[in-house]
């Protein structure tokens, strides 16, 4: 009896505390009026709208979409998965940056140490590597999906152009990351790749020189590709992603139905 009384008191106190926190200025400055974190969520059409409307998700999604647009069999989630893999790669990539120095003398040793003596180092590096291959694949498949649905037709022509740019940026991201472990695979894959680009007519040598930061691959190349990989290309990619997502909504949501 006494115990239940006490329990009730504790629950009362908890409710009181919840009320106090939720009516504090700090709480109300964080959550917008109408946010489900202000007044709780009970399932109703209005609250379903509020979940999107009063949260940061409103940048990405409208409140409502066409019914066919949520069918997984139409999009196969490929665009969303590409974006999610981009986030996953950012998170794992930041982890790797803590243990990596982009110089020819240290890079390989850093990766080796990461794999052998850092907690979850090997796992995170594996996830970064396989996630990168998956992203290239999913971006390709996303493009094929969009083509087969004729989703690049007016008014979505320009978003298709942005998409092709994003595909090349994805390839660039993957290719610049390829060099960073500084092992035989990295060195020679990049040698083959950059040799190809060196055959650009008229200024092939200059292109190669800019890419390699010198006549041949060395420690300067490593620094250059590192900066390209972790800052420059992701920065450009994020800008194009923003335009891509914005245009999806402005052009009337995803295409279809067929």
């Amino acid at each position: 009896m006494a115990k239940t009384m006490e329990g009730k008191k504790a629950s009362d106190r908890l409710a009181e505390l919840t009320d106090k926190v939720q009516s504090s200025q700090a709480w109300n400055s964080i959550f917008r009026p109408g946010s489900i974190f202000r007044k709780g969520y009970t399932d109703s059409p209005r609250n379903r709208s509020y979940v999107i409307m009063n949260s940061v998700l409103y940048h990405l999604h409208p409140v409502k979409v066409k019914r066919h647009a949520v069918k997984v069999s139409y999009t196969l989630c490929l665009g969303g998965l590409s974006f999610f893999l981009f986030i996953l790669l950012t998170v794992t990539g930041i982890f790797l940056m803590f243990y990596y120095r982009p110089t020819a003398a240290q890079a390989w040793d850093d990766i080796y140490t990461l794999q052998t003596s850092i907690t979850f180092g090997l796992l995170v590096r594996n996830m970064h590597r396989w996630g990168a291959h998956l992203m290239v694949l999913s971006v390709f498949l996303h493009m094929a999906r969009v083509f087969y649905h004729g989703a690049y037709k007016p008014p979505r022509e320009f978003n298709w152009v942005i998409g092709v740019i994003l595909l090349t940026l994805t390839l660039l991201l993957s290719f610049t990351g390829y060099l960073l472990p500084w092992d035989q695979l990295a060195l020679w894959a990049v040698t083959v790749g950059t040799n190809m680009m060196g055959y650009t007519p008229v200024f092939g040598d200059q292109v190669r020189f800019v890419l390699l930061s010198g006549r041949e691959i060395g420690t300067d190349t490593l620094l250059r590709w590192y900066v390209l990989h972790v800052l420059f290309v992701p920065f450009v990619t994020v800008i194009f992603l923003a335009i891509h997502f914005w245009r999806v909504r402005k052009d009337g949501g995803i295409s279809g139905p067929l």
């Binding site: 979409v65 989630c77 969303g80 594996n126 590597r129 035989q184 695979l185 083959v192």
Partner: protein
């Protein structure tokens, strides 16, 4: 934009159609259907007005008249009960009872200047769209997809390690040296064409054509049966690159010569 669930909209449309059919039947063949009158009502204001008033069914008109009369009577009774004012007021109410018409004491007080169709100044969607809430319908699906891909990457990473070969050595060329898998199609082309054609011209043209695709393909339909040519061209392209990448990945060994992977093993690192 109106958002009415598909089934409700269909039901309403059916009901409307049925009502129209019934009305047409009642009016006989001579009278034009009310829908047509409404649509073509731009021509004559008076006709439109009469059509509008005739749209109220007779029994409803009668009922409202009766209700008004009853109300007037009640007020009269009420007035009588309180011993107050004016049978005159009651009379006024009674005269006001018939529904107001467009005709004033000096003849017409209103006339139709123009009819503006809804679509001409507002972007009104002709057919309402069937929509669902992003939460929970879309967000839950996205969440599951994200979880699934994370789990897949995680489990795959537990069992398969990313390659880390020996330290890079510029003086020791491995045989074969291969580009990353997505460039192996290009490397395969290198065996057939001049390096400039294989490494720059063909991929450059490829990207260029890909960007121009929506401007080249002027066919407005997105139905697969209407765009067999576009689908055929694109599929051939995809297959072409896929085959090149597969050959470059698995069927090329030392010296970038042909090997059979089941005999000589794999010369391929991801």
């Amino acid at each position: 934009m109106t958002e009415i669930p598909e089934h409700l909209r269909k039901r309403a449309e059916e009901a409307r159609k049925k009502a129209a059919a019934k009305k047409a039947e009642a009016a006989g063949d001579a009278a034009p259907s009310p829908d047509a009158g409404g649509a073509g009502g731009a021509g004559d204001g008076e006709q439109g007005a009469s059509a509008a008033s005739s749209r109220i069914p007779a029994h409803l008109l009668e009922r409202s008249k009766a209700a008004k009369a009853r109300k007037a009577g009640g007020q009269e009774a009420d007035a009588g009960g309180t011993g107050g004012v004016a049978p005159a007021a009651a009379a006024a109410v009674a005269t006001a009872a018939p529904p107001p018409t467009a005709t004033g004491p000096q003849g017409h007080t209103q006339r139709l200047l123009t009819v503006v169709k809804a679509g001409s100044i507002q972007d009104v969607k002709a057919t309402p769209q069937d929509k669902v809430h992003v939460w929970p319908h879309l967000l839950s699906a996205e969440f599951v997809a994200a979880l699934f891909i994370t789990a897949f990457t995680l489990i795959f990473s537990i069992f398969y390690n990313a390659p880390l070969l020996e330290l890079a050595d510029i003086n020791k060329t491995p045989n074969p040296s291969k580009a990353p898998w997505y460039f192996l199609g290009l490397q395969e082309l290198l065996t057939m064409f001049h390096p400039m054609v294989a490494g720059v011209t063909i991929p450059g043209m490829g990207i260029f054509l890909l960007i121009l695709a929506p401007y080249i393909d002027r066919n407005p339909s997105n139905k697969p049966e209407d765009r067999k040519f576009a689908i055929a061209v694109f599929t051939v392209q995809l297959m072409f690159w896929a085959v090149l990448v597969i050959i470059g990945s698995f069927f090329r060994g030392p010296g970038f010569n042909f090997v059979a992977p089941w005999d000589a093993g794999l010369f391929f690192e991801l």
